[in-house]
Amino acid sequence: MSLAITVTEAPPVATPRRPRRSWLPLAFIAPATALVIAVSIYPVFDAVLLSLHATRYAQKLQFVGLDNYLALLKDHTVWDDALTAVVYTVGSLALVIPYALAVALLLNRPMRFRGVVRTLAILPWVFSQTVTALLWGWLLNPEFGPVTYVAQQVTGGPAALLASPTGAMAALVGVNVWSSYPMAALLFLAALQTIPADLYEAMRMDGAGKVSLFRYITVPMITPTLVVILIQLTLLYFNMVTLIYVLTGGGPVGSTQTLALRVLKMSFENWDLGRGAALGLVLTFVNLALSLFYVRALRSPHR
């Protein structure tokens, strides 16, 4: 009864955030913050410490300053791996963007069974990199794989892709495109669906052909999405480890060993944690640099 009266007198509606200090928000964010500090932020500091020490397994021995970094700089195989990472990333991007866009344009058309077609077309999305690498490894198997067989029939020559350095890189890029195009296609599709149909209609009235519709409406309308996709995929490819590790292991003769894979091998095969941590930090800086580069590129031309 009295409650009802207070309400009519002073409606609390406008003041959802009371000035009174509350312990609640603090208690609510504390566990999340603690977890993130322990598992994401502290490890970065630990990585810095590790990278400045000589190590034996997880033990830090004496402080060595920047020796680990200098050793990395002088190691020409590290530079080879960096080059491999660039080839892998750029090669994959060059293929995945047109393929994903084509798939998105296709899925954007009215057609029968569109729901089923969409679901099946983006299926590779749910396969982990491990499973993707295993299944494709079996398809590409040099002795018994169907791809090897078909390639042999077509070319008439030796067709074991994974056995040659260039072939392995080509196969790896192909598999990577297979595994990562769905996300890009879905983002493109979402962008395509925001383009108003009247826009096309108006230009068609003016006698514009399909090519100019695509060039002057579709392309500019999806450019922001394209940049988001480029950022996401560049980082994904540059940091990718599992797919490469399981499919080629970095071989043959190091031809598919990227910088990220090298971090894993340095750390968990050679157990050189100090140097592994150093290379991991270098990788992080490259990530930051790439992100900043894209953000600037995104800002400059259109706004």
Partner: protein
């Protein structure tokens, strides 16, 4: 007339294109499934036999009864569910605080969370290994669960915050006028109304943990703690590969994610897109 014909041709081309895209998407699974159903004598043949004749479940029986696959599978289920509970419990509260309270440092925490999700996993794998050894959590489920949950927290907080903000605040206020505590209003009103968001978040965690390889690879060593993806990998590295059994094991590992995908595809797309777009 001419434009009608062009339309027909265009539709036919689109149909062919769609079929090609689907065929490429299905090819590896189809070949794996075919191999897993073959009698042992047909697996290593060249030219390859496309279909099993007759199909048999022998590889599945073998891999389920004579390998450690059931252990890996059980481990993956336990760790996935535990990580799901921890990640959701922690993120839900943080996201609510971000959505409904104004406090000092709020924006800093939000941006900092986002920034940590930019740290490449491979770069902090070594310190995580180091940390887990020193915290006596190496080769334990607890260690895995903590890392999996923590790595999902930033994106879940961002995702859920959006959902919570879209719940009309008047509903909570009405409940609190009726004597409901803030906490109760959150549990009884905001959470149930955010079910789509919770589902999207849950799917993201499940997919992440089930599909992860690196963390499990770096933080566990014994057979009893091995997760499915690492288990699959050790098949190829340890013994000469029994492709029938390996493909059968892979098919078994795929069942949960493919089921989630087909049942909840829309939510999955929403969640992962939110994840992709936040950048």
């Amino acid at each position: 007339m001419r434009s009608a014909r062009r339309l027909v041709v265009g539709n036919a081309l689109a149909g062919v294109g769609a079929l090609a895209v689907i065929a490429i998407a299905l090819l590896p699974v189809a070949w794996g499934l075919s191999t897993s159903l073959k009698p042992a004598s047909q697996i290593l043949s060249f030219p390859p036999k496309w279909l099993p004749d007759p199909p048999t479940l022998a590889s599945y029986v073998q891999v389920w009864e004579q390998s450690n696959l059931p252990i890996y599978f059980r481990n993956s289920v336990i760790v996935t569910l535990a990580a799901l509970v921890v990640a959701l419990a922690v993120s839900v509260h943080a996201a609510y605080a971000m959505a409904r309270f104004r406090f000092r440092g709020r924006n800093f925490v939000l941006v900092a969370l986002l920034a940590t999700s930019m740290i490449p996993g491979i770069a902090i794998l070594v310190p995580l290994y180091d940390l887990s050894v020193h915290a006596k959590l190496y080769d334990s489920f607890a260690g895995l669960v903590i890392v999996y949950a923590a790595w999902n927290v930033p994106i879940l907080v961002w995702l859920l915050r959006g959902f919570f903000e879209s719940v009309p605040i008047e509903l909570e206020e009405a409940a609190r006028i009726d004597g409901c505590s803030r906490l109760r209003a959150f549990y009884k009103i905001v959470l149930p109304m955010s079910q789509p968001g919770l589902l999207a978040a849950a799917i993201m965690v499940i997919m992440f943990v089930w599909n992860d390889f690196l963390i499990a690879f770096a933080l566990t060593i014994s057979e009893n703690r091995r997760l499915l993806s690492v288990g699959l990998y050790t098949y190829i590295s340890n013994y000469g590969v029994e492709w029938g059994q390996l493909t059968a094991a892979t098919m078994i590992a795929l069942v949960p994610v493919v089921a989630v995908f087909f049942l909840l595809q829309r939510r999955l797309v929403e969640g992962l897109m939110a994840g992709a777009l936040k950048g």
